[in-house]
Subunit: 212 residues, 2 copies
DNA sequence: GAATCTAAGTGGTCTGACCACGTATGTATA
DNA sequence: TATACATACGTGGTCAGACCACTTAGATTC
């Protein structure tokens, strides 16, 4: 039962390989899409077993940092698409209260996206947004998917997508509000009038809550 | 072994093992600290090679979801403390845009947390918050860690933690602003005066931006 | 009863083998 | 020459077995 100090556990090989890969990528200036050495070559170059190389690669793959194509090789992925949030989500998102939090969070994030759009999206994009909304039949989800996409912050878009994928369990709210409200919302964005946006949006939320 | 044809993309064994483990954890109600079956047992139970089991376990370990102790076994970790993110940070956080988005997102989420606190946290908690802030030496990160914790929405807290662990990898913002500003922020929460909170917070952000 | 030794169990690593798949090479054909 | 096909090679995907180092618990010994 003695809790004695642990001198220094020998570093795991696969962890070191992860580090080596990082260095390698940095030194060689490899970018998303580029190919990294084959498992066998890495195994030889680093003097480790191929299985250890694979453990490292598989871990990075699960993180979404690399992509492997059988018969072709291993490639660096677009890091902006790391799956961290999804993974954590799929692993422990079974709580009950979570459902309520999810809905709330979705609303919050959507508002954030609108804010970001109002404050720094290009006029043209908002214009396109309005045009799209005016000429298409869309659901609430589609509307905010569009908003998340044109918001200038990619990370916020990712967060929205994750939250949405969980919050939007098939059933609940696939309703379609009156298009006029959405158009009004876009107009408020275009005028960069955040005050107005907030009013319009919270009004929409209130309606939805009551309807539910 | 059954070798069935999979015309579509053949699912990788280690990915399926990750899924099986998730189910296993859920069904058996395993919690942080609990031990999961040994690699050899999993290999046998799932009819897969031990190396494939290891690939899955190593990936989850790198994610910080499990912990392995040589000679003892593999254990579930406290998910809330997934600090794996820093890995991603050290790996590919060279992209300017990503860093900017991160900082911006962190600010946004923090504001959201403040909003949530102001709108529905218990008075007592805000009071405790203020007391803590008044009697402790804290960093900006600690302050918002506290805020994220007492905000009523657990999902928002989790998002903050993720974003924070990403954003706070280098030694950038370990600064300590004047305590008075933070106290003022809490006061604005207590008075449920979101207007004021926004002003105070954005003021803080502006200062930080300039300081940087 | 306490200290010690021993065996079993577990993760850590390596090697070698086979498969499935993509691509490049080369050969045969039109 | 140009196209089509066939083959060989390289790559990731997976498995099996073998060690090693370490922890734990049971058996043994004092």
């Amino acid at each position: 039962m003695d809790r004695l100090k642990k001198p220094a556990s020998p570093p795991k090989v696969y962890i070191e390989i992860v580090g080596k890969l990082r260095e390698m990528i940095e030194e060689d200036g490899l970018e998303p899409g580029d190919k990294i050495p084959s498992e066998r070559e890495l195994s030889e170059r680093l003097n480790v077993g191929r299985s250890s190389v694979r453990e490292a690669l598989r871990a990075l793959e699960l993180l979404g940092l690399i992509e492997t194509r059988r018969g072709e090789g291993t490639f660096i992925r677009d890091f902006q698409e790391h799956r961290l949030v999804e993974l954590l989500g799929t692993f422990f998102l079974q709580d009950e209260k979570v459902i309520k939090d999810l809905a709330e969070t979705k609303t919050i994030i959507e508002l954030d996206c609108l804010r970001l759009i109002a404050s720094s999206a290009a006029d043209q994009e908002i214009k396109d947004f309005k045009e799209w909304a005016g000429s298409t039949q869309f659901t609430d989800e589609m509307f905010f998917e569009h908003a998340a996409r044109i918001n200038p912050n990619r990370l916020m878009e990712r967060i929205w997508r994750v939250v949405n994928s969980y919050a939007g369990c098939p059933a609940d709210g696939r309703f379609i509000r009156e298009k006029a409200e959405y158009l009004e919302l876009i107009d408020s964005l275009f005028s960069r009038d955040m005050e107005k946006t907030l009013v319009v949006y919270s009004q929409k939320v209130r309606k939805l809550s009551n309807g539910e």
